[in-house]
């Protein structure tokens, strides 16, 4: 298991290959890809700007992976999350889960993604053609004109 906050995501097929070769017990591999949405309430999205408290974020991601592995008995999991500027349409985050059967894999994948969004100290600023806003938990925000 590993998690990273990175300027550049790995190739997804390499992540899947890497996790698959880790155990012959794997019967299901589940993947979540977070993508920069092109439209927001402010208009056309240009990019998202990600900021993290890297040490705390890394520790929290490790804790989440450990918890989920213990809770659902999955075989392996990988999280890679971008930092810095991510343009519309680009991938933001990969979560890959390997399990013996699909059911525990789906549950584990959902829990990792939900906890990542709720607990890991990473923040995003949405920059659109009309301005920017910090996205807050639950999607609320304060709007500002773009500087």
């Amino acid at each position: 298991m590993y998690a990273s906050i990175t300027d550049k995501l790995s190739k997804l097929d390499k992540l899947i290959g890497k996790i698959k070769e880790g155990s012959e017990e794997i019967g299901a591999i589940l993947v979540f890809i977070g993508v920069v949405r092109g439209i927001s309430p402010l208009g056309k999205v240009i990019r998202l700007e990600y900021e993290a408290h890297e040490k705390l974020a890394q520790n929290k991601l490790n804790e989440i992976l450990h918890d989920v592995k213990t809770k659902y008995g999955i075989i392996d999991a990988i999280v890679e999350h971008r930092k810095g500027s991510v343009s519309r349409g680009e991938d933001i985050v990969y979560v890959v889960v390997a399990s013996r059967y699909r059911k525990e894999g789906f549950k584990a994948l959902i829990e990792i993604v939900e906890r990542l969004k709720r607990e890991v100290p990473i923040w995003k600023k949405e920059v659109t053609e009309h301005g920017y806003r910090w996205i807050e938990e639950g999607g609320s925000s304060n709007n500002k004109d773009e500087e």
Partner: protein, 88 residues
């Protein structure tokens, strides 16, 4: 007693600075006292609002704390004040 305080993301933008050093006198200070001192220095009631609404994360020396705990800050402590996460 000197404390280093760093602000992140939206809170940093609202308060208008990246970090500050606080001199808090000779005795250890409670977290809420430090928060009020930050707002007093900045002449804006920002951090206490986040604190009252439970809309922030705080770490002390790179360990996340439960903001409801009665925390005492000591000389040389580093506090990170962060909004709630919005990653993914």
């Amino acid at each position: 007693m000197r404390i280093y305080v760093k602000f992140y993301a939206k809170i940093r933008d609202e308060i208008g600075i990246d970090h500050m050093f606080l001199d808090m006198g000779n005795n250890p200070s409670r977290l809420i006292e430090v928060i009020r001192e930050i707002d007093r220095r900045m002449n804006k009631k920002i951090i206490e609002e986040y604190y009252v609404r439970r809309r922030l994360l705080i770490s002390i020396n790179d360990t996340l704390i439960d903001i409801d705990d009665d925390i005492l800050l000591r000389d040389g402590d580093k506090i990170d004040i962060m909004p709630l996460p919005s990653g993914g």
